[in-house]
């Protein structure tokens, strides 16, 4: 990336731990702990978890004005002033987080394409112990800042947390860095609440679900190194591949089914994904780990933090029709979302004890992440329109890498439905067939 002029810094200062007498350190929140475990399992390919946003700057703002707004953003949200603390330098066995009251964040100033800048900033893993968990670039148009590029460390924010940060930065740019607003909820306080009595109650409800279901689900959905599927096309190629299905027909079908059965589009897709996993593997009970936003409590709706965690969704496929599956899936999805707000330490303990009991490791390795910010929602669609849209279906292969902490990951984004899989468990032709059969199942159901 070509950099314009010397690197400016955002000098920031914000409140320390609240109450102010408390220590600036806390255990990780449950969401941070879950991401931390995923990062450790995915390293050195852990840049996989980085993500970013581009904010079009409202009005006409200089570099200094944007830096002042960024300083106010960092003052407001402790997540951006928080780093992992090195457990090796302490007597604590567990990693923990440390909030800084002040610091300096380097800012890249450039004239390049914002999306390219974002990709470059996101391409290398964060130094979780040394670096601030957000990277910033200002894209100039003349002497004014046209775009702010923010790349987030997943320990500091998830997709919805990033949206909150972007909204706040926009307000700070519009109304100035001294605008008065109610204080924002802070991750350190959340970590302490989760460790307290209220957190333990929620954790126990969630843990009971994981334990009950782990006793009855198949040990895993896709066995590693399955002999029934050929490995990746090229033996020298990386084992992890992503296939992206772009299908307007699938989108219309999902909206139609959701309207017909008074379900959410997310539940329709989760159910179809689980049913298709069953058809591909022969499992009668399918376990899928949907990533839940975990922002349904009043104190967490607007927090800049990583809240999203995996829940456990189980679908018994004995019901013959998709409508029957969908009826059972509604309550099952709610149970899954509630189980997503769990203490990863409980989940690890349950995984170990049930695996020992059953004599083999238990882990679905099959996840589902609805990352759409705008759900088009249920709507009846014209069957002829759905059929005609099938002509626009395409499958592409946008990404491959060496390591991943899962074997089978379905992502829903504005682009379409992607499947990122370990080709030692499901071959590339198998992945493509999976996505096309998913489309076929949904289109057939909608047209029935």
């Amino acid at each position: 990336m070509s950099v314009t002029g010397p690197t400016p810094y955002v000098e920031f200062a914000g409140p320390g731990s609240a109450p102010s007498t408390g220590p600036p350190t806390a255990p990780l929140t449950w969401g941070q702990r879950a991401i931390w475990e995923a990062i450790v399992r995915t390293a050195p390919d852990d840049h996989y978890f980085n993500f970013g946003r581009v904010l079009k700057v409202p009005g006409s703002r200089t570099v200094a004005e944007v830096c002042a707004a960024l300083a106010a953003l960092l003052a407001r949200h402790g997540a951006f002033r928080t780093r992992m603390s090195d457990p090796l330098r302490t007597t604590l066995a567990e990693p923990y987080q440390r909030l800084a009251e002040k610091g300096r964040l380097p800012v890249v100033v450039t004239t390049e394409d914002p999306d390219r800048v974002l990709d470059e900033l996101a391409a290398r893993p964060f130094d979780y112990f040394g670096e601030w968990p957000v990277r910033v670039a200002l894209v100039l148009d003349g002497d004014r800042v046209a775009h702010v590029v923010l790349v987030f460390c997943h320990l500091a924010a998830d997709g919805l947390g990033a949206e909150v940060a972007l909204r706040d930065l926009r307000i700070l740019l519009l109304r100035g860095p001294n605008v008065r607003r109610p204080a924002a909820p802070q991750p350190l306080d959340l970590a302490r609440r989760q460790a307290g009595a209220e957190g333990r109650r929620a954790a126990q409800t969630a843990a009971a679900h994981w334990e009950r279901e782990y006793r009855r689900i198949p040990p895993t959905m896709f066995a590693a190194f399955s002999t029934s599927s050929a490995p990746s096309g090229s033996p020298a190629g990386p084992p992890i591949w992503r296939a992206l299905l772009r299908s307007p027909a699938l989108e219309l079908a999902v909206r139609s089914i959701a309207a017909e059965h008074a379900a959410s589009t997310s539940t329709v897709l989760l159910t179809a994904v689980a049913e298709l996993v069953g058809r591909f593997t022969g499992h009668e009970t399918c376990a899928v780990l949907p990533i839940s936003a975990n922002r349904f409590r009043r104190d967490t709706t607007d927090i800049v933090a990583t809240m999203s965690q995996e829940g456990l969704f189980t679908l018994d496929r004995r019901e013959a029709t998709f409508a029957g599956l969908l009826r059972a899936a509604g309550p099952a999805a709610l149970r899954a979302y509630r189980s997503a707000y769990h203490d990863p330490a409980d989940r690890n303990r349950i995984t170990a004890s049930v695996s020992a009991e059953r004599g083999e490791p238990i882990h679905p390795y099959c996840c589902f992440n609805d990352m759409r910010f705008a759900d088009p929602g249920p709507a009846r669609c014209d069957p002829a329109e759905i059929t005609a849209a099938l002509a626009q279906t395409s499958v592409t292969w946008p990404m491959s890498q060496d390591k991943l902490n899962c074997r089978f990951c379905v992502h829903l984004t504005a682009e379409g439905v992607s499947l990122t899989a370990d080709t030692r468990c499901l071959s590339r032709p198998g992945m493509e067939r999976y996505l096309l059969e998913l489309e076929a199942l949904l289109v057939e159901t909608a047209l029935r």
């Binding site: 409800t205 008074a262 379900a263 959410s264 997310s266 539940t267 936003a293 922002r295 349904f296 409590r297 009043r298 059972a328 509604g330 309550p331 999805a333 709610l334 149970r335 979302y337 509630r338 249920p378």
Partner: protein, 81 residues
């Protein structure tokens, strides 16, 4: 009384997608009113913290959530215990 309060909680949980009056007038389950899974989870959390109960999300427990009269009666009986 409890039913009216529940209708307010539904409206709050749905971010205004449905109003308390619509909830009280409805003859169909909440899910059919356009209350999404996220709103449903917010509602569960709001009822649990306000009434000091814990929902059993079994199919029966969920049926209770879809019927405000039954839910209000259930909460009244829990409160009087």
């Amino acid at each position: 009384m409890i039913k009216e309060r529940l209708a307010e909680l539904v409206a709050e949980s749905s971010d205004g997608a449905v109003t308390a009056d619509e909830v009280l007038a409805a003859t169909v389950p909440l899910s059919a009113l356009g209350v999404t899974s996220i709103s449903m989870l917010r509602l569960i959390d709001a009822i649990e913290s306000e009434f000091g109960v814990e929902f059993d999300l079994s199919d029966d427990g969920m049926g209770l959530l879809d019927d405000l009269d039954r839910l209000a009666a259930h909460l009244a009986s829990t409160a009087s215990r």
